[in-house]
């Protein structure tokens, strides 16, 4: 029979925190940053299991770490937001309320469960003006930070953080913000040559300030490649949804498939 050893609370918390931090650092990073017309989320994520998701009209979610743990919180967040919007009004759903609920949940798990969540979450809400944008970063122990400008989570993010600190400025167009975010994700923590990340290794989405109602749009395909291309004049995602049949949450820059749009010279991109 083994004797239970005494472990001091400090040691217990420290062990849990180390455990969670190690788990989070193993994954790939996610960057969230403000640009002139909204908030952009960039994840290095070549697979179809999403790290970035829509929560509500003006609120989105990004996470790093254990997929099943943050997926659970993502669904809970959508439930929270939809129930609140249904019983009050759509305008009564805020990122602050959701961030608080997440923080309490993460904190409870961290102190009471034997294994803490190995995740970090970002909840962002796009406001009517850039000053009203809100970006909350939540860590495994339930601590919340209200961030301005940009957030890097997961991976060994020191290099990425420095890259963003040097490069980010207020009012960047989307293309510049994306190029900066990808440079930050590609930075080598050991200080060596940065990696090259192709558009199909990235998961990118925006909360577009100027859209009515649901502002979340994923950016994929030719449009993403075009935005990341330094030589291309495209600096913004189109303000109108594409005419292609299907879910309108994705902007790909692909021309509409049906024939009556073939002679339409302007297909998707606009740089107004």
């Amino acid at each position: 029979m083994s004797m239970p050893f005494y472990v001091s609370p400090e040691q217990l918390m420290k062990d849990k925190a180390d455990y969670a931090r190690k788990g989070i650092a193993r994954g790939r990073s996610v960057v969230v940053l403000q640009y002139d017309r909204g908030i952009v989320f960039v994840a290095e994520n070549p697979q179809s299991l999403r790290k970035i998701s829509e929560i509500y009209d003006r609120i989105a979610f990004a996470a790093v770490g254990m997929y099943y743990e943050f997926e659970n919180l993502r669904v809970a967040g959508i439930r929270y937001a939809d129930l609140r919007g249904y019983s009050y009004d759509r305008s009564d759903v805020s990122a602050r309320g959701l961030a608080n609920a997440y923080a309490q949940t993460l904190g409870t798990v961290f102190t009471q469960e034997p294994k803490p969540y190995e995740i970090e979450i970002c909840v962002a809400e796009v406001g009517a003006t850039p000053e009203r944008d809100q970006i909350f970063r939540l860590t495994y122990d339930g601590s919340v930070a209200d961030q301005h400008g940009f957030v890097v989570m997961g991976g060994s993010n020191q290099a990425a953080e420095e890259r963003l600190k040097a490069g980010w400025q207020e009012g960047m167009p989307l293309a510049d913000a994306l190029i900066l975010a990808v440079a930050a994700l590609a930075a080598d923590p050991a200080g060596g040559e940065p990696r090259t990340l192709s558009p199909d290794q990235l998961e990118v989405a925006v909360l577009d300030r100027n859209r009515p109602r649901r502002t979340f749009r994923r950016i994929v395909g030719p449009l993403l490649a075009d935005l990341l291309n330094v030589d291309s004049p495209t600096s913004h995602a189109p303000e109108f949804d594409e005419d292609v049949p299907g879910h309108h949450d994705t902007l790909s820059g692909q021309p509409a498939a049906h024939p009556d749009h073939d002679d339409d010279g302007n297909q998707g991109e606009d740089s107004r």
Partner: protein
């Protein structure tokens, strides 16, 4: 069983266990678990009583080559009185479907609101649009949940129309009060003026009609319904109140603007001058 009544806000602390339970992508099922009093049909009514509440009336829908058109008049009645002149009875449920409502207005509007959240909730959790059949069945189960109220006279009978992204065509579904869901061919109409509207559509609608002609056929059907049914509102030229009309095609739902409708409705009124039945 301990149920939290108000949805938790920031101060109420962490997310309750029901929020973190994996599984269902259905908002209605979730609400039934955490706050059932928010669902229409879950509120007990005193037995054997009936009350008078505003009723919505006529909705018409007709398919065309690239989609489907749904139109509704704007009147709500309470007995012999007009309760509302400019009520909206055709709602976009999501990007590719609309619901037109007839029956007890208050409950119908609540049901549509819940249904809109249901579809959006599924879209966000699953990351994809629900199939059109799936949407039609979800609506059926919500009407079934309202059966208790319906038996006390508070019936809701919607019509559902959508663009089927798999089959690339518009489709219409009708319902009965018990939640039966019936796919309809070509065109359909519900509500108190539906007999007259359906008769009108039978004579005017043809397969292969263009979008503009289908819009006209639907507006004429509403005109004919209003002509013979006092609960259906006709074009109100004085107040500039026009029917609500939605066109669904492969790019999604589009509601016609008041200016656009004014031109089309005024043309119909002019054509009917001296020819009230619209004989041709």
């Amino acid at each position: 069983m301990n149920r939290s009544t108000p949805p938790p806000d920031g101060r109420a602390g962490s997310l309750p266990a029901a929020y973190l339970r994996p599984g269902s992508a259905s908002f209605t099922e979730f609400v039934a678990g955490v706050a059932p009093e928010l669902l229409p049909g879950r509120r007990p009514l005193p037995a054997g009583m009936s009350l008078e509440a505003p009723h919505g009336t006529t909705i018409v829908a007709a398919e065309f080559a690239g989609g489907v058109v749904v139109a509704g008049d704007r009147r709500a009645t309470m007995g012999n009185l007009i309760a509302n002149r400019d009520m909206e009875k055709v709602y976009a449920a999501d990007e590719y479907s609309v619901v037109g409502i007839a029956g007890t207005a208050g409950i119908a509007v609540e049901l549509v609101k819940l249904y809109q959240v249901e579809l959006e909730h599924y879209e966000k959790i699953e990351g994809t649009i629900m199939s059109l059949e799936g949407k039609a069945n979800r609506l059926a189960s919500m009407i079934r949940g309202n059966l208790g109220l319906a038996m006390q006279g508070l019936t809701v009978v919607p019509m559902f129309a959508g663009f089927d992204l798999d089959e690339r065509r518009g489709r219409i579904f009708s319902y009965d009060v018990t939640g039966g869901c019936y796919p309809e061919r070509d065109h359909h109409s519900i509500g108190s003026g539906s007999l007259f509207a359906r008769g009108s559509l039978k004579k005017v609608w043809r397969p292969g009609l263009s979008e503009a002609d289908t819009v006209r056929a639907c507006l004429e059907a509403l005109y004919d319904a209003a002509d013979d049914d006092s609960a259906t509102g006709g074009p109100d030229l004085g107040r500039r109140i026009w029917p609500t009309l939605a066109v669904l095609d492969e790019t999604g739902v589009r509601f016609l603007s008041d200016d656009d409708l004014a031109v089309r409705v005024e043309a119909i009124v002019a054509d009917r001058f001296g020819n009230p039945g619209g004989a041709r």
